[in-house]
Structures are given as C-alpha cells and as structure tokens.
Amino acid sequence: MTLVAGIDTHDLRGDEGAGSSFPSRRGPSFLMAVPALAFFACFAIVPLLGVVLLSFMKWDGLGSPEWVGLANWSRVLTDPVTHHAMKLTVVLTVATWAVQCPTSLLLGVFMAGRQRYRAVYSVLYFLPLLFSAAAIGIAFKALLDPNFGLGTALGIEWLNRDWLGNPSVALPTLVFVIAWCFIPFHSLLYQGAARQIPRSMYEAAELDGASSIGAFRNITLPQLKNTIVTSSTLMIVGSLTYFDLIFVMTNGGPGDATRILPLDMYLRGFRSYDMGGASVVGVILVAVGLCVSYLLNRLGGSSSMDSQMEGM
C-alpha cells in the first residue's frame, strides 16, 4: 500500500497525450507485469474465491466441507454477536481516524521544519515503526497491568486502572495504543508532502501580511489535500484489518467489548471451528473494504486530483 500511495499520478497522466489504446512506446511491456499478476492471482484472487465458496459451506476444519447454501449467511447476519462486532468496527474506525488524522497532520507539518532539534526529535519519534504489532501488544499489556504494571513500578496509583479489563475503558485504550503505533507512519507522509510545498507560496503570503495560522489554513492544508485523502484511505481501510494488536492485548474481551469484525472472523474460524461463518464475515470485510476505498477515492480524489500548483 505504501508503494501505491507513493506513485505520483500527475506525471503518469501526461504520457497518455495522444489518447492511444496501445501501450506507450516508452513504457514497459505488459509482459513485465505477468509475474506480479501471476503471484497476485495465485495468492490473492484464488484464496478470495475459496473464501466466498466456503461461506456457503459447513466445515469444522476436520473432514470434508458440506454445501449448506445460504444457511451461514442468514445465521451470521441475524447473530447479535455480528451486529455488535459491526458497530464496534465502525466506532473504532471513526475513533482511530478522528484521533490519528489531525495529530499526524500537525506533527508532520511540525517535523517538516528544517531546524536541527526537529530532526533529532523525528528520528526518536519513528521508533514505533520498527516494532512489530505483536511486540507492542505484549509490551503495552505488561505496562498496563493493574497489579504489576507501570503504575506499581513508578508508584503512581492513578495508573493502576483496569485499562484492558473494564468494558467501557478497553476500547479507548486500544484507540490510544493503535494511535501510538500508526501516527509516526502517517506523520511521515505529511512531513514529506509538507516539504514539497514551494517556499515561494509562503513568501508571497508573508508579503501579503498573512499570519502563520492563516498560511497554514490557506496554503498548507489545501496543498496537503491529496495526502490527507491517501492517509485517510490507509487509516480507514487499515482499521478494517486491525487484528494482531487487539488479539494480543484483549483477545476481543472483556466479554465482547473489543470483538471487532476481523477478530470475530478469527474467533469464529479458529476457536469455534465454524469456518463457514468465519468466511461470511471475511467476505463482508472484503466487500466493505473495497467500497470504502473506492468511495473515499471518488469523494476526495480522482476527478479533483488535478495539480495544486497551477501557474507555479
């Protein structure tokens, strides 16, 4: 996804000048895409079709699957556990976006400055990117332990709370840890984008007497528009696949307070051995993920993704 996001689409468009349906003579041959496409078909399309097929079957992981038609679909779609998981997924998606988007935008713009202390800060700040989600999950679980965790070690009684065990606190705690993990990555995107903004724009604004807040609102934000779309797409589609962190930290608990759809899929499949039901949830996730990324792109991107630098 990172690579896809990094492609500069404006430049590509310039090559299609003559409107020919043949590949441009300067571009690489279509054949060069064959290995990648073959891998993609083998490891993405085929398993995906398998999951769709399995959603119409009853299978407990042993023996052979048995065709049951739409029974899995009607069972899963009427299950209150699924409804709760869907609601939680939406809440988590909105909450993680609302926390991460403004924070990483501001941090990214801050880090785009050329002062040396900012560079030192930025290096330290990217450390979370180096850790795997499972390691972060285990570390936070130990730090947040109410009896033997950070609060006890530092002697701060306020920290000794039931962070992951109280149904109403667990989800906000997860939003915090997820933000800790992913804000550095999104700030990196904003930092790069903010550095691309020509200095001359700010100089012109300064001459016109704009305040720094005014410059931020009228120059930085509009210039970052495409990055905001990209970063939001990654956040929102990504939040449909949060699994490892939550699995390690709460296992969907307490009760089902953090059982979001991806986790619901896993628990159905590999704890209850209901592969058919898990496949239904899987297909729903794929469909929702595709729709969301398409819509986001439609709303904020494509047609309006014209150059922001007309006349520069």
């Binding site: 896809v4 689409t9 042993l62 039931d162 962070w163 065990g165 696949t241 993920g289």
Partner: protein, 431 residues
C-alpha cells in the same frame, strides 16, 4: 482519469486478500520421515523433555522429536494440522469433544489392543476419559489436574481468618473480612483469560444441584441452562462480584502469565481457585511461599441446602496422547512402542512427582507419601480418589462453538453486563 482509481482498488484488494490469506497458512512442523510430538510449554514440560531425551539416547534409530507450544496457540494450530493431514505423530489433547471429532473423522488410530502394557499401569477412571465408543483412542500422559482452592494463610490470618472457608456463607464472610482488612482483591481471578471463571460456575453448579445440573446440558436437554440450580449458581457468582470478592481489576489479569498466582504469592490476594498445575508455578516462582507453609489448599466450599456432594471435583483428569492416522505405519509403530515402554516408567513418574504433579498410575500412592511435596500431592491424590464425581472442564466437555459462547457469555456475567436469566437464554439458544 481512471488510473488512480484502479491503483487504489487493486491495492485495497491486495491488502485485504493478504490479510485473509495469512490466516490460513499453518505449516506443519517436523515432516519427512521422523516421528514428532507436539505438546505444551509449562506444566509437565520438564517431564516430557527428559522422557524424550532418554528415549532418543536409548533408541537412536527410532528418535522422537518433541515441539513445545503455548496453550492457546496450540489449540488453534493442532486443529488445522489434523484437518489438513499434517498432524504430528503424537497428538497432545484434553480428550473430550475434540477427541470425539478426531475419532469420527478417522484422524487418530485405535489404541485399545496395542497399548495393553501401558494400560495396566493406569488408573481406570482416567483411562476411561480417553475412550470413545468403548475403544481407547487417547492415553493419559501426565498428572491429574483437579481444581483446588489455594489460600495465602498469612493474608488470611492478618484479616482474622483461621481456616479456609467450608461453606459458601463462610466464603462471603471471609471476603468481607479481607476487604475490611484492606485487601483490594480478596480472591484472585484471571478474568481476561476467561476460562478460570468457568471453574467457579463448574463448582457452584455442582454444589447446588449435583452433577446432574451440567449432565442435562451435555445430554442436550431443552432449557438445561435455565434450570433453577444453574440460575442459583449464577446468582451466587453475581453475589461474589457485587461483594467485591474479585476486586475491580480482574478483567485485566491473565492466567497464561500466571498473574493470578502471582497475586496470591505476593500477598495481594487471599485466595485463588485454580488448577493443580498452578502448584508447580508456586514451586518455581515463589519457593519460599511454599516452604514457609503460607500456601494453603482446600476443596471448594459446600453450599447450604445444596444437593451436590462437597467432595465432588472438577478439572482435567489428565492430558492425553493420541497417535495420528495420517502418520506412516512405521511412525505409528515407533510412537506406540514409546507409549508402552517409556510412558509412566519409574523415572517418568518420579519426574512428575518432583514437579508437584499427581501421576495417574495405580501405584503412585506410596511414592507420593515419601516425596518432598507430600502434603499437597497426597491432598490432590485423595481429592481425585474420593470424588464421587470428577467432572471434565466444561470447555473441554462441550463442542467448541458452545464452549466459546459459554466463555464469552459467562465473562459478561462476571463483568455485571448480563443477568443470570440473560446468560441462560443466550446459552439455551447456542446449544
């Protein structure tokens, strides 16, 4: 103009498919001719390790390679491995519902006739757990694991309590005394792991209505979860939670890391209801706590007017080995030879006892009495021997989907999110 659209779309598909695809790919370990065994870390790990090492040095051309996994990870991995024909030669299990599934799909071999020499050494009631339809498909491989009420006697006596509670009312009184003595968590409970909560309902349902209360569930009787006995037992759990018996942070405590046992031996809790396997954790994590006599152990309290026998026990009779049907004839023969010759031989039994386990062999009693851990081991051995009913843990006795529904619904009762009646109707629908 459509290019960027498509790039995003393809990227989206790729990400999701990769994530979905990643869930399916469990690789079997140790294929390629050798005999392998999958088992768990912790518990009897030391005994398994030394037994396989001894076997391998004595039979260098018939080696068995053990691999050790964490509890939760193993339960998920083994199912996929067995289902895809990539099972290890020796399959570790808890018998119960999973074993029945293996047998009905022909995944494990019949051990009735080929393990006669081993069967002669075993306690019949434990061997019975490994039989399906009158045939032996799994043989026990370690110690009996009754659920025990552990106490920290120092914490109890500081709160003015002389002995472990013998009735449920005593238990409530003790909770109140511990609370007023400033113990935040009178009873340690690993709520995040969920399965330790099961032990409370298992014992309370038995003490209130006897073994018949849960047998009705197993037999699939309609509305078995809403029987008055079950509802009363659930109500007693609510009573305990409301009295603050488990403190207000039990939802974050994890049993896999022995955090509940740590609460007891660090004096932050007065009592702990856990399996006999926790005793070996006390031996490794807090040897002084055991040797100073601060660690107490007792049976679960009786309920006034309840029908259950106060000596009824719940827990796991043992863990089991099965032999995979997908292994070659040669591999199967080596595995069976190991079961007959090395399982529960004298050094195996000695090692189990040293680790604080009660071996499920008929001649264990005399060895237990002379062991360093005699008080606990004799207590646990008597508990099993005298129990009129030894109920297999509910999550093992029930089919997997019901067990999962049970764990999640029960944890909501402990959290005070659902009432006993709501729990019962949700469970009646799930079964």
């Amino acid at each position: 103009m459509t290019h960027p659209n498509r790039t995003f779309l393809v990227g989206g598909i790729a990400t999701i498919c990769l994530v979905l695809g990643a869930c399916g790919g469990n690789q079997p370990g140790g294929a390629g001719g050798g005999v392998n065994a999958w088992t768990l870390t912790g518990g009897s790990e030391a005994t398994f390790r030394s037994s396989f090492e001894d076997w391998n040095s004595a039979n260098s051309d018939e080696k068995i390679t053990p691999e050790f996994f964490a509890n939760d990870a193993y339960k998920e991995k083994i199912r996929t491995a067995v289902g895809s024909g990539n099972a290890p030669t020796l399959i570790y299990s808890w018998a119960g519902g999973a074993l029945e599934d293996y047998v009905s799909n022909g995944d494990v071999v019949d051990l009735t006739d080929v393990t006669k020499p081993l069967q002669g050494r075993l306690v019949p009631s434990v061997l019975q757990t490994g039989t399906v339809g009158g045939k032996v498909y799994a043989v026990p491989n370690n110690n009996a694991q009754p659920i025990v009420l552990y106490t920290n006697n120092k914490v109890l006596s500081e709160a003015g309590i002389d002995s472990a509670p013998t009735t449920f009312d005593d238990l409530l009184d003790d909770v109140a005394k511990l609370k007023s003595a400033g113990v935040e968590t009178p009873i340690a409970l690993a709520g995040q792991s969920q399965w330790p909560e099961l032990m409370w309902i298992e014992y309370l349902a038995d003490r209130v209505g006897g073994p018949a209360t849960f047998q009705a569930v197993i037999d699939g009787e309609p509305d078995a979860w809403s029987s008055p006995e079950m509802l009363q037992a659930l109500g007693m759990i609510q009573q305990l939670v409301e009295a603050g018996a488990f403190g207000d942070k039990f939802g974050s405590v994890v049993a896999d890391a022995n955090a509940d046992a740590a609460l007891l031996h660090t004096g932050k809790a007065g009592m702990l209801l856990q399996g006999a396997w926790v005793y070996s954790s006390f031996l490794t994590d807090a040897p002084d706590f055991v040797s100073s006599g601060d660690l107490g152990f007792s049976t679960f309290p009786a309920v006034d007017g309840g029908e259950g026998d106060p000596t009824d026990t719940v827990g796991n009779p043992a863990n089991f080995w099965s032999v995979s049907a997908s292994a070659s004839k040669e591999q199967q023969e080596i595995a069976i030879k190991y079961l007959n010759e090395a399982l529960f031989d004298s050094s195996y039994v000695e090692s189990l006892i040293q680790n604080g386990g009660v071996p499920v062999t008929t001649d264990a009693e005399s060895q237990l009495a002379t062991s360093e851990q005699a008080p606990f081991l004799s207590f646990a051995y008597d508990m099993i021997k005298n129990a009129p009913s030894f109920q297999l843990s509910w999550d093992q006795a029930l089919p997997a989907d019901q067990a999962q529904a049970l764990l999640s619904n029960l944890s909501q009762v402990f959290l005070g999110q659902t009432s006993p009646e709501e729990f019962a109707s949700a469970m009646d629908q799930a079964s």
